[in-house]
Each structure stands twice: as C-alpha cells, then as structure tokens.
Symmetry: D2
Amino acid sequence: MDVNKVSNKLRKFAEERNWEQFHSPKNLSMALAAEAAELLEIFQWLTEEQSKDIVKSEKEIAQVKEEIADVFIYLVRLADKLNIDIEKEVLAKIALNENKYPIDISKDNAVKYNRR
Amino acid sequence: MDVNKVSNKLRKFAEERNWEQFHSPKNLSMALAAEAAELLEIFQWLTEEQSKDIVKSEKEIAQVKEEIADVFIYLVRLADKLNIDIEKEVLAKIALNENKYPIDISKDNAVKYNRR
Amino acid sequence: MDVNKVSNKLRKFAEERNWEQFHSPKNLSMALAAEAAELLEIFQWLTEEQSKDIVKSEKEIAQVKEEIADVFIYLVRLADKLNIDIEKEVLAKIALNENKYPIDISKDNAVKYNRR
Amino acid sequence: MDVNKVSNKLRKFAEERNWEQFHSPKNLSMALAAEAAELLEIFQWLTEEQSKDIVKSEKEIAQVKEEIADVFIYLVRLADKLNIDIEKEVLAKIALNENKYPIDISKDNAVKYNRR
C-alpha cells in the first residue's frame, strides 16, 4: 500500500471541506478511539469462536471491513498531522517487541512484559 | 509500505510465541481499542492547541509514535485473521465518504451524515 | 450510595487543585473512555471463563476494583458538570430497555434492537 | 441512589431474557468501553467550550444522558458479577487520589502522578 498516497488523499478530502479546523491531534485521537470501539461493539456478545466465524456473515463482515477502514483512516490522518512515519514506527515497534517478548519466556504466555 | 510484509512479520511473531490461541478477532478488537485509548489518554488534558504542539516534546511524541504503531499492529493482525485487504477497504471507504459528504454541504461542517 | 455526596467530594477535590479548568465535558469524556479501556485491557487475553475467575486473583481483582472506581468517578464528574441526575437517567433507561427488548423476542438473544 | 436496587433490577432484567450467558466480565468490559466511546463520539468535533454548551441543545443533551445511563448500567452489572461494592471502592479511590495528588504540587497540574 502507498500510505503516503492515502494520506495525501485524506488531506485533500479534509482541505476541500475545510475540515482541517476539526482535525487537531486531540480530536483525531477521539475519532480513532470511537471507531475502534465500533469494531469492539460488533464482537461484544460473540464468543471467541463466533468471532472467527464472522467471515461467514456477509452483513457483519461488511461492517467489520468498514470499521477497520475507519480506524485506518483516522490513524493515517493523525500520523499526517504529527509528521509521523507510520511504517518506520511500526517496524521499530516490532523490533522492540522482539526484545520485550523473547520466544522462550513468552511461549503460550501473552502477559504484558511489565506485569511479569 | 508493504502491508503484507508487515502482516507476515506479525503472523510469524505470533506463531513463534504460540500466541495465535489468544488472537481471536474478538480479543484483537479489545487490544486495538485498548491501544487507541492509550493514545487518547495522552491528549485528554491538553487543549487542542497543546495537542498540536506535542511534536515539540521529545518524550511525549515518542509515546505517541509508539501507541500509533501499536494500533496499527493490532489493526493489521485483525485484518489478517479475517482475510481483509485493508488497502482495498480504505480506498472503498474514502470513495463512500466522498458521496456521503459532498463538498458543498459538508463545508465547515463535520456533522455525521446520519445526524444531518 | 449517596451519589450527591460523592459528586460533591469530587467537585471539592477538583476545585482545591484548580482542576476545573481541565474538566470540560469533552475532556471528561476522554478520561472516562480511557479508564474504561484500562478495564478492557485487563480482560483482553482472558477467555470468558477466566474472566469470571478473576475474583480468585487478589492482584487482578484489586486492579479491576480500582478501574471500576475510576470509571465511576469520571462518570459522576461528567454528570455533575452537565447537571445530569444519573439515578433518574438510569431508571429511565432501564424502563426504555424493557420496551426495546421485550422478554419473548429477546430471550437468549442479545442482538441490538436496531439490528433486528 | 440505591445502587443495590439498580443492580438487582438489572440482574432480574438479564435473567428474564436469559442474558446472563452473555454477561461474562470480559463481555461486560467490552460493552462498557463501547458505551463510553459513544459518549466520546458526541464530543469529538466540539471545542471544549462547545462541549460545555451542549446542555443548551435538547437533542444532544438527551443523547448524552442516555449514554451516561448506559455506561452506568454496564458498570453496575460488571461490579455485580464480580461482587464488587462500588461505593466502597470509589471512596477508597478518592482517598488514594488525595495522597497521590497533594494539593500543593497538583495545583493547576493534572499530570498523572506516575509521569511527574
């Protein structure tokens, strides 16, 4: 994916509607959390097994896709406003996680490293 | 960014730690929302202006970068588990938004289309 | 519980620290969501059965108690700032839910009424 | 408010609909976070000043009241399932906060104690 292209599209979208006034990092962090919670809501009464089977429901998977897109959109907007290179940060974080969660002591155990 | 490459890296990371057992879509939606809220928390007592100036604080912007990476990571994991092509869905959603929020009636007005 | 007493205590707490400046409804809604997400995080990798058994872990249940208190505190603060009588609204909502979810068609089915 | 009475009403409501099967602590933490985010969404594009003035909009304040009730309802349900005495925990947390945020060093400063 060309994240820069998506980011530029979203910036143009906001500029054309004069929405940059609403897109402070604070507000974008709220919109992002609100969209993430809409995803959460889809799964709240499902068992874990049912959550895997959601791909079989055309209506529900369509909703999941839309919410995933919404989260992505606000995440890219927020990174754009703060001049953050998402790819660079994601790769750095994966490297960090490899150190925080060594395979041997993390096997079968998802406990957060600072609670071990 | 090569989202597939990131997605594969994350899958390998989970497999090596035997964490796929924890990564049901339900659980991933929870982890995603929890990370989005950590981003929210950074901004909660800041004014909108202060939220823009967060780039000037080395410590705080480092934290923002890490949380943005975390949200991205769980989003990519969730999409992977449900066989969702994020790029395709994001482009579809932007096209949808262009219809839902026509420039003329959306100018200066971020009210959600279903509340207009 | 005397919610007014709790509300007054919290108002005094904020006033003494000159924190009313931070407690706009917008900011309080962020703090509330952030605390709710900390609760979520405790349960994210647990199965539903494990989540019921959390009462057996002294350390974890203590954390749950603290997060529940935090959510309650911000909820009461927000209601106070907007002159909302929580008890009245809760009783009204329960009555509303009784109409939205009649026993016969809601039995064993938690699907949100607007998705039926 | 008689929280026990509200808690008993909610338990009866769930039992009559056979919804106890859905109300694991894990699921309730999701529903709680989802409702808190609906509150957040109302405020996301408002300035802090506009968020204070929301009381003037009949339609919006009605929505805020309903979401506050929803958060409260799931919080009470969760506490009930885990045998947590909310009032006791809230008073304990306020006392804890008085120690964590002494008036002199907290004046005009809402920075979380563990970041000072």
